[in-house]
């Protein structure tokens, strides 16, 4: 049952279509990420849900009520902005209390809820600090507390972690996920960091140039990318051009000296997409020469020149002897690890 629903939403600025045919239904308590490169329309979509922008077409519904008809101030959504947008002239506690004040929550209750919210984000004792005297991570937590204290029906996060350094970002990711799990708020996170999207969300919406490329769980989008764009955007991948060999029975899918039984329903040229960590060195398969070998602690990274173009292979450092630069190897993988797409030949 959809809690928040976007139905063929589109947004145009003048003649430019920035978001097109965006349909998504979010379940209650779900954690969704919008993932895509810069300028693909993530913020625009989020702002339409928040009500700062009106959709050109389509409908947005929350619990089957038309959200676009409700004034942004009355939508009751919690929003954390990329720049945090804290009120610099108010203390942390005053910032968090603002939303409650607007709702005429009694003073005593406000004080208690503000205290609890700040404690939840690990900022107990920072009540009287002004935002400008706090670190980026602390400001980010105040922004989160400010958005959560009003018990929002949906929490919207616009790249909230992008201003933090790598270590702090990782800590905040874990914290964010824990907080979201505890209070169960339906959450939409905008990010262009695929690791962040994968480690936090229940489902990822991969976007490109204003439209949805794929919606799926992190595993689905990683292992069964629906398009070349998705497989390239989510981690490293190898794309090999393959053809169908009909002379054999049953027909076989062939890439260089590698082949496998052809999947049903595929008859033209195809692209075989395979993750570097799923490729092994075997006795048969795609023949390749190792160009560089990089040791990365827990794994080895091999850059190879194969029959079908460049290839990347990642092997766990399990203590086994590994091939060295200049060696000729055979690349092999299990058919269930690859995804095959029809290839349009120009």
């Amino acid at each position: 049952m959809a809690y928040l629903e976007l139905d063929r939403v589109a947004k145009q600025f003048g003649a430019q279509t920035v978001v097109d045919d965006f349909s998504l239904s979010v379940g209650k308590g779900e954690f969704i990420s919008f993932l895509g490169p810069s300028g693909c329309g993530k913020t625009t979509t989020l702002q339409m849900i928040a009500g700062f922008l009106d959709p050109t077409r389509g409908a947005i519904r929350l619990e089957d009520k038309d959200l676009t008809a409700i004034h942004p101030a009355k939508r009751g959504l919690g929003i954390v902005f990329q720049s945090y947008a804290l009120f610099p002239h108010m203390t942390a506690a005053e910032n968090v209390a603002f939303g409650l004040e607007m709702r005429n929550v009694p003073r005593a209750e406000t004080a208690e809820r503000v205290r609890a919210a700040l404690a939840m984000v690990g900022l107990a004792g920072y009540e009287d600090r002004h935002p400008r005297r706090m670190s980026g991570g602390q400001q980010q937590r105040v922004a989160l507390a400010r958005a959560l204290v009003i018990k929002p029906s949906v929490l919207l996060l616009d790249e909230p972690l992008s201003n933090l350094d790598a270590k702090l970002r990782e800590e905040m990711q874990i914290e964010l996920r824990q907080i979201q799990r505890t209070i169960g708020t339906t959450t939409i996170l905008v990010t262009h960091d695929q690791n962040e999207a994968m480690s936090l969300s229940d489902r990822i919406v991969v976007m490109s140039q204003g439209h949805i490329e794929q919606i799926g769980t992190p595993q689905e989008t990683y292992e069964r990318p629906a398009s070349a764009f998705v497989s390239q955007f989510l981690g490293k991948t190898n794309d090999f051009a393959a053809t169908i060999d009909r002379t054999a029975t049953p027909a076989r899918l062939v890439a260089g000296s590698w082949s496998a039984p052809a999947p049903a329903g595929l008859n033209g040229p195809a692209t075989v997409s395979i993750r570097p960590e799923r490729i092994g060195f075997g006795d048969a398969g795609l023949s390749a020469k190792i160009v560089t070998r990089i040791f990365q602690g827990n794994h080895w990274l091999f850059q190879c020149e194969s029959e079908c173009g460049p290839a990347i292979v990642i092997r766990q450092n399990d203590g086994q002897e590994q091939p060295i630069e200049g060696d000729t190897v055979r690349l092999a993988w299990r058919p269930e690890d690859m995804s095959v797409r029809a290839r349009v030949v120009a």
Binding site: A50, F52, P72, A73, K74, R75, G76, L77, G78, I79, F81, Q82, S83, Y84, A85, L86, F87, P88, H89, F98, G99, M102, R103, H130, R132, R133, R146, A147, I150
Partner: protein, 291 residues
């Protein structure tokens, strides 16, 4: 123990700033000191300036109520001008900031345009519109039978405040505009999403953050208005004097330079005290916004 290198690094800043420092001393400090000294000299109708040290001028300013009234008028006009520019200029800057691209630049030009025109020309414009029976507006209203006597503008404090506010408006708008530029572009959306209405957003979120801009604009407008010469000279003439026009008259008409110097010195000292004092207050009050 100091080495040659240390010596050089200590001396270098002084040597490097010496030319500018000398210019500063030569054209600002020395004339200023001479003006202060001049205010202690004696003057008589027939004997001219006598370089002696007496407190005659200062005693005259302190005891003659004419001067108290004149200084009070000067500051009253400056305060009212400041209030008027703040009340009109702050909303003006806010509206300007919310305009979209092209209109914004057009209106910014409209607001800054007056800065390109001489103060004298701008003030004379007011005189042409409202000056006595022959002022354009007065003439029009009188011939239309709407008023029987010309609206008093020339030689009135109201006229002076209006003309000064017109002249000073760009400084206030620019100062508030600069404060608005520092606002987070999403700050209004943040308040909106928390349930604040438009009036609450302006009162609780925008106003407190642009207050430092309004106040620093106020300091600029106040000090420029209190020491303004051209506008009070044209609107007030010889009848309604302020500190600057009085000092000018003492210097060039009465030729009582020492008295003029005393008036000018007092104006300067009062202004410096007011500006420095209020600046310190503002910085203390708005420490967290400035940081």
């Amino acid at each position: 123990m100091s080495t040659a290198a240390d010596d050089r690094s200590v001396r270098a800043p002084w040597v490097l700033t010496a030319p500018a420092l000398m210019l500063f001393v030569g054209v600002l400090l020395i004339p200023l000191a001479m003006t202060v000294m001049l205010s202690f000299h004696d003057w008589g109708q027939y004997k001219g300036i006598e370089p002696v040290f007496i407190l005659k001028n200062w005693r005259e300013i302190a005891t003659d109520p004419y001067y108290a009234e004149m200084f009070w008028r000067t500051f009253r006009i400056a305060i009212l001008t400041t209030l008027l520019t703040a009340v009109l200029g702050a909303p003006e800057a806010y509206i300007l900031n919310r305009m979209s691209g092209r209109w914004k630049s057009i209106f910014l030009l409209v607001i800054l345009g007056p800065l390109l025109i001489s103060v004298v020309a701008r003030t004379l414009g007011w005189a042409l519109l409202f000056g006595g029976n022959n002022g354009l507006v007065n003439k029009l209203l009188m011939s239309a039978g709407l008023i029987r006597f010309p609206i008093p503008f020339m030689f009135t404090e109201t006229g002076m405040v209006i003309a000064l506010a017109h002249v000073m408006m760009p400084f206030m708008v620019l100062s508030v505009w600069a404060a608005l530029q520092r606002l987070d572009p999403q700050i209004e959306n943040a308040a909106l999403s928390l349930g604040a209405g438009p009036i609450t957003i302006i009162r609780r979120i925008i106003m407190p953050q642009i207050m430092p801009g309004v106040l620093s604009g106020a300091i600029i407008v106040f000090s420029l208005s209190a020491s303004a010469f051209a506008t009070p000279a044209i609107i007030g003439g010889r009848r309604l004097k302020v500190a600057a026009t009085l000092a000018y008259d003492e210097f060039l008409n009465t030729l009582n330079w020492p008295l003029g110097a005393a008036v000018a010195t007092l104006l300067l000292v009062a202004l410096v005290l007011i500006v420095v004092g209020s600046n310190a207050l503002i910085e203390r009050r708005y420490a967290e916004v400035f940081r």
